[in-house]
Symmetry: C2
Subunit: 302 residues, 2 copies
């Protein structure tokens, strides 16, 4: 049976927030995604690192349910990102980006990965996302992320990917840019006419909204007293969401809602530490308990 | 038996949004509050208008369950506010404020209003809020609103009112200013140490969070395709919230949660038109249906 495949980035992040800082800690979209998803299902990862990616770095990704055969090692240095968050914590100020091995990365999907059950195309160049789609047997679910950089700079390639996508997971600023509109309901209609039947809009500290068929589902973020670093929250959300869906028996409205909650659970853990420290050290009990916390947070009598 | 008493403003609002404009339409915190609350309970209103407040203006307030004996008419002109919203709709730009009769307003509570079951002190000078408290027998619930202007300019009087309050209903910017902190969980602890056992933080298009005892309840706003004018949303929320509470048998966690939903229901109607047009013309069926819409918006399987 096919597995959940993710194609994205593995990075060394240097991050400063009002609550501390880390230097060259393991990060990247595929990293957060596959760790979060591994609590629910088996994951196959396709990404690239450089020669400087040490065995210590690698341990973050070495998990029972994560298949690293698709992690390519290229000559050169690993992708690096350096950023800073103010007290508002909602937007990173990028101080430095070094693409390094990402610059010439062209994802090659290993033979054993070519019939995934589900595929997540993390935020990379839409041309690369298309190249991935060309190498795999159509999975039952294709989900993708993107960013304003591609919406502004590669809209045609992005439109082609969107036609192939079932689920688009983006943040509110990106949704408003892609839909060229400020109203989320109108945005959802415009974006879903481009392809994805399901649109998930991440709103940071305010939670997430999902449009699917005629249904709308909104979930607040979990109010945390101690946040350390929002880096990777969105990819952890996607990992929990896709991981749960891959383990669910059906792709109906109820499963999608539960997947949104599990995504939010994983995001809420990701922001409680720098890098993947908290996200990577959870028990199934932690995950279940936080899911119940979300239930208590949102339940009211009808 | 005592009734729900509100002390606040009645205004003539001139509002421009990207979706239209009105000139000198009936508004004000007490207006939105008492119309919203009147769907749930009997309301007594204390406010002041000027000689220019016409019989046509008055019809907006004349409702079966609203007692207008406390609506004072003073010589001079009615309080006027003129504002504009951009496409973001989250913050009004005040173009003009004419206090007029509000400038010398000192609320006198009619004899028949002096034993309210519940009291809502809308956003007015905390010294006036204190004067109201001095004139009534302690109701079972005292709730209040305030704004940054008083947090910055009259913090001592405000602290005295807060000591007497059971419930504080403010927006997120005000909560952060009053708690001098950006983290909502920390803010809730700081503010609740000042008096109110229950803190409700309104977050505009993102919904509302309530801290009560050890419980946190968060409700997203209802995603509307067509918003006309956010003016009065917060006071309509307070009206639905307090109106439902006044009609509820207990003041427990479940009732408070339901009250937050009914408050959000009323706010969602208020923003669908200018002034009180939509808010004032609802059926009980409309209210019930929107409540169920909120349930569908937020429900997931546990």
């Amino acid at each position: 049976m096919g597995k959940l495949l993710v194609v994205g980035s593995v990075a060394l992040d240097s991050v400063k927030t009002p609550f501390g800082e880390v230097v060259e800690a393991v990060g990247g979209s595929a990293t957060f995604f596959c760790i979060a998803a591994s609590y629910f299902t088996d994951v196959q990862l396709v990404a690239v690192v450089g020669e400087d990616f040490s065995p210590e770095h690698l341990t973050a990704l070495q998990r029972d349910r994560v298949d690293l055969n698709g992690l390519e090692r290229s000559s050169g240095r690993t992708f690096r990102w350096r950023g800073e968050y103010s007290h508002k914590l909602n937007e990173a100020k990028t101080l430095d980006t070094q693409l390094n091995v990402l610059e010439t990365f062209s994802p090659t999907i290993p033979e054993s990965y070519r019939a995934p059950s589900q595929l997540f195309l993390a935020n990379i160049d839409p041309d690369l996302q298309l190249r991935v789609l060309g190498q795999v047997k159509r999975p039952s679910v294709v989900a993708l992320d993107t960013m304003n950089f591609w919406i502004e700079g590669k809209i045609e390639a992005l439109r082609t990917v969107l036609k192939e996508a079932d689920i688009l997971i983006i943040n509110d600023g990106e949704a408003q840019a892609l839909g060229d509109n400020r109203n989320l309901v109108q945005v959802s209609r415009i974006i879903r006419s481009l392809g994805p039947k399901t649109l998930i809009i991440k709103r940071g500290e305010y939670g997430v909204v999902m449009f699917h068929g005629d249904a709308v589902f909104a979930l607040p973020a979990y109010p945390l007293e101690h946040l350390k670093d929002p880096t990777g929250a969105g990819d952890s959300f996607a990992g929990g969401f896709m991981g749960f869906l891959a383990s669910a028996s059906a792709l109906d409205d109820q499963s999608l809602r539960q997947a949104v909650v599990y995504g939010s659970v994983m995001a809420s853990f990701a922001v409680q530490s720098f890098s993947v420290d908290r996200l990577a050290s959870l028990t199934d009990e932690d995950v279940k308990k936080r899911y119940m916390d979300f239930s208590r947070l949102t339940t009211f009598q009808v």
